[in-house]
Amino acid sequence: MKICVLVKEVPDAAVEKRIDPSTGRMDRSGEKNLNPYDTHAIEAAMQIREGGAVQVDEIVALTMGPESAMRALHKAVSLGADRSIHLTDPALAGSDVAATGYALSKALASEQPDLVLLGQQSDDGECYTIGAVVADHLQMPSLTQVIKMDVEDGALRCERQAEYGYDTVQVRLPAVISVGDAINEPRYPSLKAIMGARKKPLEQVAAGDVGIDPGLVGADGSRVQCGDFHDPPAKAPGQVIEDEDTSETVDKIVAWLEERKLI
């Protein structure tokens, strides 16, 4: 079995995110890191391999993004991927969700994975849908927000929370599964794995190498144009108390509650 894991480089949680007014795109400068949700997807791949119910021949990490995105691949490899692929091309810049999913699906198609794993969302774009886009292009079934996954008779038995409670779904491979953060506790990479990550194969591919139609990607190929960025209706900022003296803090909370007749 071959597993491909989609990963993404995102601004570090501590970096304040903003829209660059000159391009209308997210300003992605500043400290970056592997999307924390993706570490759960890599861990899920490792647990399938170590679980022994099926032989995993290869775990391949794939990302799309500029030069710097390579660091997300190094991290992915240090967490257990065997090799990585960096889809990078100026023609891809400005792709919307649908165009990004299409481009990723083309890179994945040339790998012919049995299973594609990804995190349930990216920390920056706040969308939960890339897996579903990729899956339809690859003509594979897709489930998102999976929190338990077991290999059973060559199929996956997946559990997740849906609209009415927990659903259990049997999925025959190949499939695209996005995992929720409750699925596992990702391991920390060993120092040896971090040092060794740069030595594992990393292949750079351009749009043309994987047969991406340039008319369907980038800002011009995207079917959604985002703009008119503006502030939401202002909400009066709430009061904030820093707890230094807990008795005082508690008195303040109680007074606040009494004022509003909540106690």
Binding site: V133, E163, P232, E258
Partner: protein, 327 residues
């Protein structure tokens, strides 16, 4: 023609509230651009003529009904793609929730259409629909305009209000669909399973809610003690993360895949305030947040924020409230 197609999810013979909101929204917006609102339903015997035509009360003029697996995205994508191919809808609209996201995104791939998710407002502009979505932890709003024949709009949960009208009855049309081979690769083993005790949080006046910041399952003891101190019609609620981790029952979960509440007081203990949680509780009358991380998003929409250690604050707050009530 500028018709809007919506997907209406159902479970045990009843339609989903967010789906009905999408039908209401679709009908109102379609009218503004000179079109009609239609609905797609996929399922079994429980989709009776009577049930389907009742969508007319929410503004749908036609309901496309297909026999197929419920609760999974791929079969619905097949049905919607066929209906759009046959009838040429200009927009597909979803009320949010897990399936809405999956179906909308898959449909975007199938039809090479643009898609916007987490939409909080749709409006007509020069005969077309534009979608507004909050971005960057709701600190900005972005406006999506669509190119091409089809635009896909996935609402944020609770974004679209359900509006009924008198005497509306929709025409029900059966659709025959050849499902894609990959749609048949997934089967539902169990749907809508409830885990843990059944608790009622929707009717509570005061909710004390706990999240991952409680640190461990036993952290809920502090939350329960505080709820007991408030007394009266107070209940304990939880975030998805701690429910998935098995710390608290599913019936107590607030948010995107849980319940939506608007109590008089919502006290969030150790909850960071992710969007998926926020959508389920933001209309509470008063929100207090206690969290040790001063950068937690919940402080952006709480009325009173307390930055500090729960283990110190919660027990003393419970004691203080008890003393106040006793005195």
């Amino acid at each position: 023609m500028a018709d809007v197609l919506t997907y209406v999810l159902h479970f045990q013979g009843a339609f989903n509230k967010n789906s009905l909101g999408a039908v209401s929204e679709g009908a109102a917006r379609a009218q503004e651009i000179g079109g009609q609102c239609h609905a797609v339903v996929v399922g079994g015997e429980d989709l009776s003529d009577e049930l389907c035509s009742s969508l007319g009360a929410y503004g749908a003029t036609r309901v496309f009904r297909a026999a197929g697996l419920e609760g999974l995205a791929q079969p619905v994508i097949d049905v919607m793609a066929k209906v759009i191919d046959d009838h040429g809808h200009s927009y597909a609209l979803f009320g949010g929730g897990l399936l809405g996201f999956e179906i909308g995104a898959g449909l975007a791939a199938r039809k090479q259409a643009g898609v916007t998710m987490e939409v909080t407002q749709v409006r007509a502009e020069n005969g077309k629909l534009v979608a507004e979505r909050p971005i960057l932890q709701d600190s900005k709003v972005s406006v999506s305009r669509y190119r091409g024949d089809l635009g896909i709009i996935i609402g944020r949960i609770n974004a679209f209000e359900t509006v009924t009208r008198d005497g509306g009855s929709a025409e029900v049309v059966d659709v025959d669909v050849d499902y894609s081979p990959w749609s048949n690769q997934a089967t539902m083993v169990a749907r809508g399973e409830q885990r843990g005790a059944d608790v009622d949080i929707e009717g509570a006046d005061i909710l004390v809610a706990g999240g991952r910041g409680l640190g461990k399952p036993e952290g809920f003891e502090l939350v329960e003690q505080l709820a007991a101190a408030f007394g009266g019609n107070t209940a304990v609620a939880a975030t998805r993360a701690v429910v998935d981790a098995g710390w608290y029952p599913y019936a107590a979960q607030i948010g995107q895949t849980g319940k939506t509440v608007s109590p008089k007081l919502y006290l969030a203990a150790g909850i960071s305030g992710a969007i998926q949680h926020k959508v389920g509780m933001q209309s509470s009358e008063n929100i207090i947040a206690i969290n040790k991380d001063a950068n937690a998003p919940i402080f952006e929409f709480s009325d009173l924020g307390v930055v500090g250690d729960l283990n110190k604050i919660l027990p003393r707050l419970a004691d203080a409230i008890k003393a106040k009530k006793g005195g």
